[in-house]
């Protein structure tokens, strides 16, 4: 049995979680998931500004902080902290923790290869709209293929203490150590699906140990010291989800089921680079306090493709707010919204979308929200999105004047006019898997 713990559900997750996982009990692997789609375009921009950047900058200082404990307790780290510059990330780790052996997985970053793909007739059609990538060629800011668990296992095979990947899938971070430790083969799809689903359960960190849990959330103990998840993985593909003794939070059938369903599509066709996993085969049983045993998982062969995520500059947006107090807070906010829209129309400004929400009334759920006849205050938020930066900028000047020239009791404008933000959008596509060749390097 090996213990694989996830200490980071996204770049920006709780900094203390990975430290506590290493210090508060036994684990064999610490995995850290840093990359969301939005992260790739951010790190690509950072690399363009400075070639020594372009990775999750939280990661090297974390490894520096826990390096001695990692060595002492023989804990190995697998992280997709590399962003678009895994080698630079590894060098910084080596600088802060010279005693650790560090390996990187390369080959997922295809930003420089896009023109070559297009020239060879690989259209990289948008999976949602069917449009060819040529439509946005000039606006691309990053392009990465999602890679699976086997390159990570290969990197662990070098004996590295720390394995740094770029755009590996979140689930591969958990499956990689299992493939390495148990010698699972690329055609053992039930086992690969089991490791994948284990990875899915833990990939959002504490979201399977009581965080964001709707079931009985008021009774979940000690959120302040919530324990992050640990997979106790067996060679036969069964595993237990648990957390360290004495930590807060909860592992129960409810917490695990909620996370199993999180960001799930067709449950019988969970497609990864390594296999297609079937979530309708999962069997759960309680296995003592804060322990859930998972078994029975079935998988099918991988598809001939890998997913590629391309980020590109789409346009601009801005969002601004004004708060109105009772009485009649919602009516005042709606009147203010109508005034803004009339003024934007009078200026002849065109946007792709103008969207208004009423916080405190129904912003999250629309007509599904319960009706409160007299909310104490309502915050109007108006947003616009468009390709024309000037129009979006002009919009940002139309909100604050309402405090003086619109309905009464407008307040909460202290941060000044809203800023214009670039909108980076994502273009999902498929590429034949033989186009992506990964390689492992040990960084000295």
């Amino acid at each position: 049995m090996i213990r694989i713990a996830n200490g980071q559900g996204f770049w920006g997750d709780w900094l203390e979680a990975p430290v506590r996982l290493v210090e508060q009990g036994p684990i064999d692997y610490l995995i850290l998931d840093y990359l969301a789609e939005v992260t790739m375009s951010i790190v690509q921009k950072q690399k363009q500004a400075d070639p020594s950047l372009g990775y999750a900058r939280d990661f090297p200082p974390l490894i520096g902080r826990i390096a001695a404990k990692l060595k002492e307790r023989r804990v190995r780290v697998v992280a997709n902290a590399g962003g678009v510059n895994p080698v630079a990330c590894a060098r910084e780790v080596k600088r802060l923790a010279p005693e650790l052996k560090v390996a990187v997985v390369l080959g997922d970053d295809v930003y420089e290869r896009v023109d070559d793909f297009l020239a060879r007739g690989l259209e990289l059609k948008n999976l949602d709209t069917g449009e060819p990538l040529t439509v946005i060629r000039g606006q691309i800011s990053s392009a990465n293929a999602y890679i699976g668990a086997f390159p990570l296992a290969e990197a662990l095979g070098t004996g590295a203490d720390v394995v740094i990947a770029g755009r590996s899938t979140d689930t591969a971070l958990a499956l990689g150590p299992m493939v390495h430790e148990f010698g699972w083969r690329a055609d053992q799809f039930d086992l690969l699906a089991a490791g994948t689903i284990a990875g899915h359960i833990v990939e959002c960190g504490a979201q399977c140990t009581g965080g964001n849990c709707i079931a009985d959330w008021q009774t979940i103990p000690d959120f302040a010291n919530i324990g992050y998840p640990i997979i106790e993985a067996e060679a036969d593909g069964s595993f237990v989800i648990t957390k360290h003794h004495g930590t807060g939070g909860r592992v129960s059938l409810e917490t695990v089921k909620e996370q199993l369903l999180y960001e799930l599509g067709d449950p019988q066709n969970y497609i990864t680079p390594d296999c297609v996993a079937d979530f309708t085969s999962v069997r759960l049983v309680e296995d003592g306090p804060d322990r859930v045993r998972v078994s029975g998982i079935k998988g099918r062969p991988k598809t001939p493709f890998l997913k590629v995520s391309v980020s590109y500059l789409y346009g601009f947006k801005a969002l601004g707010t004004i708060v109105y107090s009772w009485p009649d807070a919602l009516e005042k906010a709606k009147a203010a919204d109508a005034i803004v829209r009339a003024r934007l129309a009078a200026l002849g400004l065109k946007f792709e979308e103008i969207y208004s929400e009423y916080f405190g009334a129904n912003a999250c759920h629309g007509i599904a929200a319960p009706v409160n006849a007299q909310p104490a205050e309502v915050m109007l938020r108006v947003g616009v999105r468009g390709k024309d930066k000037k129009a979006v900028d002009r919009f940002t000047r139309e909100l604050i004047p309402l405090v003086l020239n619109g309905p009464p009791t407008g307040t909460g404008y202290g941060d000044g006019r809203p800023s214009v933000r670039e909108v980076v959008a994502y273009w999902p596509a498929l590429i034949p898997r033989e186009e992506i060749v990964t390689r492992v390097e040990v960084v000295e």
Binding site: D128, E258, T280, A368, R381, A425
Partner: protein, 110 residues
């Protein structure tokens, strides 16, 4: 009798681009058939009104006593494009759990 769905189920929601995924889970296995009967894709779409622009697709996970709904065009463009506060649909499960369902008193208490 009519009760909110939250009486017999919990859940979690998230996003895939402009698609909201809402997982609804029966607290007890015996309530799973009630979910299948009461929480239809049509009712989910009607419950959220204009928030869901596209269709709603339902998948069954009897092994977990759960249903998974994919609500297309439900996040104002999704991800970075969306102008909504809940651009990732994080609160959609809580919103659906507020929907009223019809259940026999015996189904509820047996």
């Amino acid at each position: 009798m009519r009760v909110p769905l939250s009486r017999i189920a919990h859940g979690r929601s998230g996003d895939k681009g402009d698609t909201s995924n809402i997982g609804i889970i029966a607290y007890e296995d015996r309530w799973y058939p009630v979910l299948v009967r009461e929480v239809t894709p049509e009712r989910v779409k009607a419950h959220f009104g204009s928030l869901i622009e596209g269709r709603v697709e339902r998948f069954e996970l009897p092994n977990l006593g759960a249903l998974n709904f994919l609500c297309y065009g439900a996040l104002g463009g999704g991800g970075t494009l969306s102008l909504r506060i809940d651009a990732q649909g994080k609160t959609m499960a809580a919103g659906l759990l507020g929907m009223e369902i019809e259940i026999d008193e015996r189904e509820l208490t047996d």
